[in-house]
Symmetry: C2
Subunit: 165 residues, 2 copies
DNA sequence: ATGAGTGCAAAAAGTTTGCACCGCT
DNA sequence: AGCGGTGCAAACTTTTTGCACTCAT
């Protein structure tokens, strides 16, 4: 779960997606609806495999195939509803990009957890530098790596004499 | 070509690699030497395929196989001589990380060109935010996307009446 | 003799695509 | 009738790996 509160949004992601699809002469089908709802049911980061695991199970009545899920994810990205945030373990990781403010991520090298943080100074600096260099900036992706506080906790141990020196 | 000047470095990348390999009980073989030199022959960003294209050609006497090139790249990354900077068109893109100062990149959405820029404020902010959040920061990767000045140039055209309104 | 190193070809893993059929969000 | 949409399986891409042989930085 991210540490950033969602903005109030007038239209649901599903509705927004429908509008986008319409501009491409496409329809919000049953399958695409299932995928959008699965993706926006919570604010977790996700990858294609996770959605496939949820929707491509033979037991479930509302099955959606891998191909359709991949195609829907591509469409959602083009619609600006989701965006790629990282590439972890050979998988593209996405997050919601609709109704949430710009933010960046820490990625723990140990547990691969993504931790969101928000800092406007960085965006401002980028705007300035891009301007200076004649680059027409549209967005950025910042992954800071290291060890999260959880993984940094030493395995529980007794006090060490060295602690007192 | 980057816009950042190389620092003076005492030891060549090849020598540095040799030292690293030694700590792992490995040797700087003929093949690994060829790969390092190919990679450090210029300061361009590169991906595995480019190196393979140069070294895995049947016509050349100093051929190195794909497998060995991939293995060498992995070792070079662990040695801290190169680092991943981006993931473009399904390929991992690397750059030299030895003898060059920390910097970030703009990536042109049109021509995929990587443009380096340096800004210490960003690193400082990250250090501060990481500290506040109890994250043990080790590095970061920042890709700012948009259109480079080259691609932003409008195709040569006549003045448009609309320009004057 | 020993252990690291190499090349090859096959395997992985994630993602994309050609195709035939379906159905009207 | 038309066109977008879906599922399936095969194809594709990049990267990794098992294996047998080689070599000595």
């Amino acid at each position: 779960m991210g540490n950033l509160a969602p903005k109030d949004v007038a239209v649901s992601p599903e509705e927004k997606f429908k509008e986008f699809l319409a501009t491409r002469g496409k329809r919000l089908t049953q399958e695409r609806g299932i995928v959008v709802r699965a993706i926006f049911s919570d604010h977790e980061h996700f990858d294609a495999e996770e959605i496939i695991a949820r929707l491509d199970k033979p037991s479930d009545g509302n099955r959606v195939s891998r191909a359709t899920i991949y195609r829907a994810i591509t469409d959602l990205e083009e619609a600006g509803l989701i965006r790629r945030v990282a590439h972890i373990n050979d998988r593209e990781v996405y997050e919601h990009d609709y109704g949430y403010p710009q933010h960046d991520h820490f990625i723990c090298d140990k547990c691969n957890k993504l931790i969101e943080f928000r800092n406007d100074e960085i965006s401002d600096i980028l705007d300035r530098v891009a301007m200076e260099m004649g680059f027409r900036l549209s967005g950025h992706r910042l992954e800071a790596s290291g060890i999260c506080s959880e993984c940094a906790k030493p395995p529980t141990r007794r006090h060490n004499k060295l602690d007192m020196i």
